[in-house]
Structure formats: C-alpha cells, structure tokens
C-alpha cells in the first residue's frame, strides 16, 4: 500500500506543475502592458523598459515561469498590493474557513447522496424512487446562490432559527457550537447540488451491481436482502462511487465561491471574488493555485481509498 501511495504522489507532481503552467498562461492573457498600467501617465519608454527589467518581464516566457515557480517553492507568492500583505499569508488564513465549509458540505453530500441513491435503487420505480428522483432533479437544477438567499429569508429572517452570515457571532460565541450554528445554512446550501449528483450516480452504480452474477450467488447462499444490498452490492458499488466523491470535492471547493459571498463566510471564495473586482491578480493566482493543489491531493486520496477497497486496482 505504501508503495502505491508513493507512486500516486509521484504521479501528482506533473499534474500540479501542469496546473501552475495553466495559471501562469492565464495571467499572460491580461490585455495591455503591465508596466504601462502600473506607470499610468509616467509611462515614458525609458520608465517602461526599467520596470520591465525590474519585474523580469523582458525575459522569455519559459524563463519567467521558472523564476516564478522557484519563488513559489520558497513560499513567495508575491504581495497583495490592495491588502498590503504577503499573498500566501492571506490565502492560508482564508483557506481554513473554506476547508471547514467545503469539508462539511462534502461529508453531507456524500452521506445524504449515498443513502438517497441506495434507497432509490432498492425501491426502483416505487414511490421512494420517484420522490428521491424528483428532489435530485430539483437539487441539480437549483442555482446554489439563489437557494442560499431563500434559506436566509426563511431560516434567518422569517423564523430566526439560524444566523444569516459570518462564521462566528460578533458578540459572545466563538466556540464550536457557535461555529456549527453558523455552518448549517451555508454547508447545506453548498451540499444540495453535489448531493443530487452523488445520489444519481449511486443509484446507477447500485442498479448496475445488483444485476451482477455475484449478487445471485449471495442470494443463493440464503443471505437476507439487507445483507445482499448493504454488504455485497454496496461494497462493490462503492468502488465506482468514490471517484465521484473526489470530483464533488472540486464542486464544493468551486461552489464555495458563491456560498461564501451569499453568507459572508470569510473564506477563499469570498476573497477571490473581491480580488477579481479589485484586479488583485497575485491574490487570485495564489488562491486558485492553492485550491487546485488541494483538489489534486483530495483526488489522490480518493484513488488510494478506491485501491484499498478494490484489491484488483493495486497491481
């Protein structure tokens, strides 16, 4: 197993390098001359040339990339000129909040999605199946940012059950219970779409497995239907469900952008939206890179979990 994990880790390195190349190229899309933009009315040809040399912009793209990646490896993601602090500090601080939100959503969508998917498959074409299918359809068609507003309107404004925004209460609070109360609405909203996707795929995977010969064997042994479904069928279906959960990790990390904006959650997504509108590009670049790297690692974890469940994959 250790050898397998090592192999997967090595394979992740080129992927992360690839990510950095794409982010680098995207930043090269910026229209206009950065020196010109920086200098404004002081943009005499001499000044432009001096700035270009100072920023290393007179070098070729590959050279620029190597210098940039070298800086990244030293933890130097540049400085946010709007916030006037190192990008990495700001990103890491924000990322903690996002991880709490996205992690809670991922757990929520996995558990609910899998349970709904199994129930739906087991009662195929029955009322349970129809009702779940209906809710799944609503879930995957619902704009999360809109659902968040509706939740705020009812749960926070109308019924005053839960706080509408932020991560902790402004006065008092600050403990785990306070955090959980603030987490419920945004995490649920963020999980809704992903739950629909997980439920759909779980249903399909279960139906696929239930038709396999080894299920007939399990029945021929005299196992109860519950054991056939949960121990035999689900065990086999889980192998194809786990990569889907890995992909959902990406959806909740990305979807956090909307949810954090709606619920004023002080995470990476909210930071990115602000940074885009203030054109704080280094901050955008750093945030996207860190989130993407974490996503790659989560998928690596999903691969490892899958290999642990299915001994045939380790070879």
């Amino acid at each position: 197993m250790t050898a397998y994990i090592g192999k997967r880790l090595l394979a992740a390195i080129p992927v992360i390098l690839g990510l950095s190349i794409i982010v680098f190229l995207v930043m090269k899309l910026i229209p206009g001359d950065p020196a010109q933009a920086l200098l404004g009315s002081y943009a005499t040809p001499e000044n432009v040339e001096r700035i270009n040399r100072a920023l290393g912009l007179d070098r070729s793209w590959p050279e620029q990339y190597v210098i940039w990646i070298g800086n990244l490896l030293h933890g130097d993601f540049g400085r946010s000129y709007i916030l006037n602090r190192p990008v990495l500090d700001e990103v890491l601080e924000r990322f903690g909040a996002t991880l709490i939100l996205a992690g809670a959503s991922l757990v929520l969508c996995s558990v609910l999605g899998i349970l709904a998917g199994i129930a739906s498959a087991v009662r195929q074409f029955g009322w349970t199946d129809r009702i779940i299918t209906f809710f799944v359809l609503i879930g995957i068609s619902m704009p999360a940012f809109f659902l968040g507003l509706v939740f705020i309107l009812f749960f926070a404004v109308q019924w005053r059950l839960l706080p509408a925004s932020g991560m902790y209460a402004v006065y008092g609070g600050g403990d785990l219970l306070d955090l959980l109360r603030h987490l419920i609405l945004p995490a649920t909203t963020l999980a809704i779409v992903a739950t629909g996707v997980v439920a759909r795929l779980t249903r399909a995977a279960m139906l696929e497995v239930l038709r396999q010969d080894f299920i007939r064997t399990a029945r021929a042994k005299g196992l109860t239907e519950n054991k056939v479904i949960y121990r035999h069928a689900f065990r086999a279906a889980l192998v194809s469900i786990i990569p889907v959960l890995g992909i959902q990790a990406g959806f909740v990390l990305g979807g956090a952008v909307y949810i954090e904006t709606v619920f004023q959650w002080p995470g990476l997504g909210q930071m990115l939206v602000k940074a885009v509108s203030t054109r704080d590009l280094l901050l955008v670049q750093g945030g996207v890179l860190v989130a993407a790297t974490v996503y790659v690692l989560v998928n690596l974890l999903a691969d490892v979990a899958q290999a642990m469940l299915d001994p045939r994959l380790k070879a």
Binding site: L29, L137, L149, D213, T224, G250, V257, V284, V288, Y295
Partner: protein, 595 residues
C-alpha cells in the same frame, strides 16, 4: 450460462422514432414544452407590449408584484421586473447556448483528433485536457475572468473553456472505438484523406454523443454564467442577465424579496426544463441507458400462478418439480422460457439436465429456488417440492431460509459469481453465518475446514485470498465449498465445469461425485455435455426449446435414445483421434446438413 435467449417467437414490436420516444417520456415532454415556451417568449421580446427594461422610475421603486402596470413589480431603480426578466432570459439563454456551442466545437475537435490520431498527438491533447479538469470547476473560470476583466463575453469564454474537457473526453472515447471499425478501414483503403474520413465517416457516428453531452451540460452552463453574473463578474450594467438581476436585487433581499426571488425562480425553471429535456434526449439516443434496461432484480422471482398446486406432497423424494413454467415479462406479454418441466430427484441420486444453450436448463435450475432475475423473470405455473413442501407457496423469508441451507447452488464461472472484493474465506463463512449464528471465529474455522475438504492446499492462507488471486479450478472449489457450508440435502450445479479446462474439469467432477457418495447429496447437474452426464449421472433429462423431451436412466438413454435431438447430442461427443469420421457420423443426424 444464463439462458436468456429463448427460441420463442419474437414479440412483434413497432420500432418507434426518436421523437415518439421523447414524447412518450412525460417528463421530457414537459421539459420540452416549458423550454420551448421560454425560448419563444424570449425571442418575441422586442414585439411584446413590454415596458422598456432600462427606464428607471425612482418614485415607483420596489413595487410589489401585481401592482398597476407592473405585473411582477419593480426593482430598486423602479424598472419593470417582468420586462427585465424576459430580456434577461434572452441574454442568459444566448450566453449559455453560445458557451455550450463553443465548448462543444473545440471539445469535439480535440476529442476527434486525439481519438483518431492516437499516439503523441493524443497524449499531448489529453494531458492538456486533464490539466483543465484538475481545477476545481469554477475556480479556473474565475482566474480567467480575473485576467481578462469582468464582462459578459469574458465570462462566456471562461465557462466555455472549463467545459471543453467534458466534450473532449466523451468524444475521444467514442472516436477511439470507431476508428478501427470496418467502415473506417474501407474508407481509408478507398484513398480518402484523414480529414475526409474524420468528417464524413467518424463525425456522423460521434454526433449522438456530442448531442447528449450538449443537452446534459447546457443547463450547467446557464447556471454557471448566471453565477458569474451574480457575483458581478459577468454581465455589467446596463446589460443584465438573470444572474446579475439576482445579484443586484440581493441588497434589498429583506425589504423587497420579490426582486430576488423572481429571477431566481426563472433560472431554476429554465435549467430544470433543460435538464428534463436533456435526460430525455440522452435516453432516446443512448439505448443502453433507457429505463427498463437496468431493472433491479428482486430477492425472489415473481410468482404468478393461475392455479396453486397442493402445498405439500406425501412421501416425496428430496426434490420434486411439477409442471413448472417460467417466462420473461416483455412489457405486457410473458414470453415462455420453460414449459411444464417435471422431474424427481432422490437422496444420493444425480440427475443430469442436458440441452443446448437456450434450451432453458439454467432457467429451470434457477427457478427451483426463485433465483431467476425478476424482472423480467416470472414463474407462471407448477410447484417445486423440497422435502415434500412447495417452496413457491412459502413466504419469501422462509424460501430465503432454505437457500444455501437445504438447497445449495454451484454456478458456472466463479470469477463472476464470487464477490470480487471479499476474501474467499469470508464468503464461505458468510454462508455459514446466514443460517447458523456460530460467531465469526467458528465460522472462519469451518470455512477453512471446508476448503480443505474440497482439496485446497494451504487453506488457512488461501482463505484470505481474493477470487482474482486464485486459479479457475481453485475458484470453482471455493464455489463448491460455499455450497457445502450448511450441509445441504440438494446441490444444484449449473454448468460447474464449463469455464474450466479439461483436466481441471475431471477433478471437479470427481470431487462432486465423492461428496455425493459421502454425504448422500442429491445432485442436479446442468450441462450441455453428454460426456459429463455419462460419467456422473444416474438419470438424465434432455431439454429442448424449454421442454423436457426425454427422461430416463442414463444407460438406457445413452443406448437407446428415443428422441432425434437426444441422438444428436450423444453423437456430438467426439472421441479422441476420430478425425473426419466425427463429421461423417454426425452429419446424417442434422436435417439442415442432409439437404
């Protein structure tokens, strides 16, 4: 082998066109209707008697719905919401569909070229696509918008780019499977250039996949572009789409919720109608996914007998099957698979059930314990008596309690019939625990013992192995050990040696014989090989077209077969070194060859 293909007259069914199928799917039809309505209204916006969506009217701001002159009220600048909704839908539709078209165009091109060229081109293109997919979906789009600057067009490009991978991957997959087909080879040999082949031969066959991917992603793209606009990164004033309407109205969420809720519901209804339609289109174009193809088999075959036989027989042998008929429900009509099957099997006896594939012998064997996959399987008449009691009249729980305990099965291909992800020892122990709660340790110890009984060396170590780590012969021994787990009276072996090579086959048969003698088992052996029957069985029943055509002592049937079909089956066992003599001997028995 599960004999699903039955030589019964095919039910005549009209082939329905794609359109009919789509309309038959009520949800898809509803989706099409709603989507069509939205598109028509959006297209007609300039001709409808609507207020100017951009004219502000401060005194009349935030009017509630159903106000005079403003059916859906006004927003924070006093603009008519209905008018803005329709014009905004126009923009959202246009952007979403354009993004889909761009993603489909470039994604399909990449997929086609990568799948057709293979080699280095393929790996470079697909690595690039993998990189794009390695980003958490919307974040890459945000980075692109950050670089290009907020704006509707830039949001469109960004959303299109991040969706290219879905198309590239799907289309590449299909292209790879098509490029080596005969008609592509033929085009190549006829001197067509690569580009011509790609666009005239490959593309038409890939088109359904492109359409499916488009119809299932367009909803997403509308949602995502609306999302970017909501964040203020997409449509900029004075242009507005549904997302930016929602984003601007959010500030008045508490005082005038209608201004937020109306565009939100509009996005939801639009995306939902597209998703319904998309699922419908996918089902029509991809028959594998059509509902019904993936029916979940129930724990016990459906039993639908017009007349119930006597629930018990007095002084019956171990197993009695009487007038058993099983069929497959093909939507309305039941196509019979086996008819009026009857046989008896005494303790310690071996009955061979023989016939060609499709003759119904597996269906017969599986019907005994209600294991025919259902739907579509249905038992339409007859009785199955174990120890004189009709199992088909029992409650489901009682029947399940008999499985593996009194009547055990050994199946054909143990690679597919054993659970691939559970150690074999555990699978045997599970069979014990299903009927006798002896505890995990005791069950495991007995599993190892059973493995030794069926001749597996190092059983204690092997018990931890997974099926794929064992040889075919070992796997079948595991299957037999599992069947023996609860000391059953009856074993039904469905082609237990067909997947094995000849020497292993002989040893497995020997094992079954020994066990039968030692334990006094009644053995029902399903096979297509008269050689096996001659070696093992006391009596034999010959099946053809779902019926037993001849039944008797093995020696009598072998020496004096009554039915033509039996003669052929017997003749079909070749003798070693027979050479061309075999064909000469067999030919006269087949009418088709005599002509």
């Amino acid at each position: 082998m599960t004999d699903l293909s039955v030589s019964a007259p095919p039910v005549s069914r009209k082939r329905r066109s794609g359109w009919d199928l789509l309309m038959a799917n009520r949800l898809a039809a509803a989706g099409l209707f709603i989507f069509g309505f939205i598109v028509v209204v959006a297209l007609l916006a300039p001709f409808l008697p609507l207020a100017n969506p951009d004219i502000t009217d401060q005194p009349n701001r935030l009017l509630p719905p159903f106000s005079d002159g403003h059916l859906l009220g006004t927003d924070h600048l006093g603009r008519d919401i209905l008018s803005r909704l329709i014009w905004g839908t126009r923009v959202s539709l246009l952007v979403g569909i354009s993004a889909t078209a761009i993603a489909a165009l470039f994604g399909s091109l990449i997929g086609l070229v990568a799948g057709y060229a293979r080699g280095a081109t393929d790996s470079v293109l697909m690595r690039f696509v993998d990189m794009l997919m390695a980003f958490p979906y919307i974040l890459l789009a945000i980075a692109i918008v950050a670089a290009l600057g907020p704006g509707l067009l830039n949001a469109l490009y960004a959303i299109a780019l991040v969706n290219i991978p879905f198309f590239a991957r799907n289309i590449r997959g299909v292209t790879v499977s098509i490029r080596n087909r005969e008609f592509v080879d033929a085009a190549r040999l006829s001197g067509k250039g690569h580009a011509a082949i790609l666009f005239t031969e490959v593309l038409p066959n890939v088109l359904p996949v492109i359409v499916i991917t488009m119809s299932t992603t367009v909803g997403w793209m509308i949602l995502e572009t609306a999302g970017l606009s909501f964040l203020g990164l997409g449509a900029q004033p004075p242009t507005s789409d549904l997302g930016s309407m929602l984003g601007q109205a959010r500030a008045q969420l508490f005082t005038a919720p209608h201004a937020s809720i109306i565009p939100g519901i509009m996005i939801f209804v639009l995306v939902m109608s597209i998703n319904l339609l998309g699922d419908g289109i996918r089902d029509v174009l991809d028959p594998r996914l059509r509902s019904g193809a993936l029916d979940r088999p129930m724990p016990v075959t459906r039993i639908d007998r017009k007349t119930r036989p006597a629930p018990a027989l007095s002084d019956a042998p171990a197993l009695v099957v009487e007038n058993l008929s099983t069929g497959f429900d093909t939507g309305g009509a039941v196509t019979p698979a086996v008819r009026d099957i009857g046989f008896r099997l005494a303790k310690g006896e071996c009955l061979g059930l023989i016939g060609e594939s499709g003759s119904g012998k597996s269906v017969t064997a599986l019907s005994i314990m209600g294991l025919v996959a259902s739907p579509p399987g249905v038992i339409t008449s007859g009785g199955v008596y174990v120890d004189g009691r009709d199992v088909l009249s029992m409650r489901e729980q009682e029947l399940i309690g008999l499985r593996g305990a009194r009547v055990a099965y050994v199946f054909q291909d143990p690679l597919t019939t054993l659970h691939p992800l559970l150690p074999v020892g555990r699978q045997i122990a599970e069979a014990i625990l299903a009927h006798e709660p002896v505890g995990k340790h005791a069950a495991h110890a007995r599993a190892v013992e059973l493995m030794e009984t069926v001749g597996i060396r190092d059983a204690a170590v092997r018990a931890g192995a997974f099926p794929h780590e064992l040889s075919g012969g070992q796997r079948q021994r595991i299957g037999i050990a599992m069947a023996l787990a609860n000391d059953p009276d009856i074993i039904i072996a469905d082609e237990p040696t067909t997947a094995l090579d000849v020497t292993v086959q002989a040893r497995i048969l020997e094992l079954l014989q020994d066990l039968r003698r030692e334990r006094g088992l009644a053995l029902l052996l399903v096979t297509h090989d008269f050689g096996v029957v001659a070696e093992v069985c006391d009596r034999v029943a010959v099946m053809k077209n779902g019926q037993i055509v001849e039944q008797g002592n093995t020696r009598d049937v072998l020496h004096a077969p009554q039915h033509d079909y039996t003669k052929r089956l017997i003749a079909c066992v070749p003798a070693l070194g027979e050479g061309h003599g075999f064909l000469d001997r067999v030919r006269p028995l087949f009418e088709e060859a005599r002509a």
